[in-house]
Assembly symmetry: C2
Homo-oligomer: 95 residues x 2
C-alpha cells in the first residue's frame, strides 16, 4: 500500500495531554520540531493515527493539523533555517 509523507503539527493546551500526544506520535513518525512530526504512512496508518490522537486530545481546545505531502520525493519541499533537523529516512516504524 502506497505511503505518503505527512506533516503533523499540534497545539495541545495541557502538559499531560501534550506528553500523551507526543508519545502516540512516536509510533507513527519522527519528531522534527517540538510539536511537529513527519511520518510516512498509508491511508490505513493515517486512520489509525487519527483514532489514536482523538482518544487523547480535548477536541474543544486542542488542535492538530495533518498535511499530506504526497508520495513522491518530498525532500526538495523542505528548507531549514537554524539548527539542522533531519528528515525521516524510513517508513512507518511501528504497528
Amino acid at each position: 500500500m502506497r505511503r505518503h509523507r505527512y506533516l503533523v503539527a499540534y497545539d495541545i493546551r495541557d502538559p499531560r495531554r501534550l506528553r500523551l500526544v507526543a508519545k502516540k506520535m512516536e509510533d507513527f513518525g519522527d519528531r522534527t520540531q517540538y510539536s511537529v512530526f513527519l511520518c510516512d504512512l498509508t491511508r490505513a496508518d493515517v486512520a489509525d493515527m487519527t483514532r489514536a490522537l482523538l482518544t487523547v486530545i480535548d477536541s474543544t481546545i486542542d488542535r492538530i493539523l495533518i498535511v499530506d505531502l504526497g508520495s513522491g520525493d518530498s525532500d526538495s519541499r523542505f528548507e531549514f533555517l537554524g539548527r539542522r533537523h533531519g528528515l525521516p529516512t524510513t517508513g512507518h516504524r511501528v504497528l
Copy 2:
C-alpha cells in the same frame, strides 16, 4: 509571479525571539497554530521572509522548517482534528 503555499513551523527557544519571529511572520501569512503559519508567497517573498527570520533567530539554537506545498489548490492536503482553524484565503498581504 506565481505563488506557492508554504507551511512555516518554528521552534524558538527564547520568549523574546519567539515574539519577534511571530511578529515577522504576521507580515507573510496566517497563523494556523501556535508555532505554525501558512503563507502564499512568491520565491522573492520567501527570500524576503528568510532574510527577515535570519535577523531574528539564534541559528545555533532555534530552528525553522519551511515546507513548499506547491501552487495548486492545496486545501485537500489538509486535515484538522480538534478545534477548527481556517486556511488562508488570500495571498501575501504586506510588503
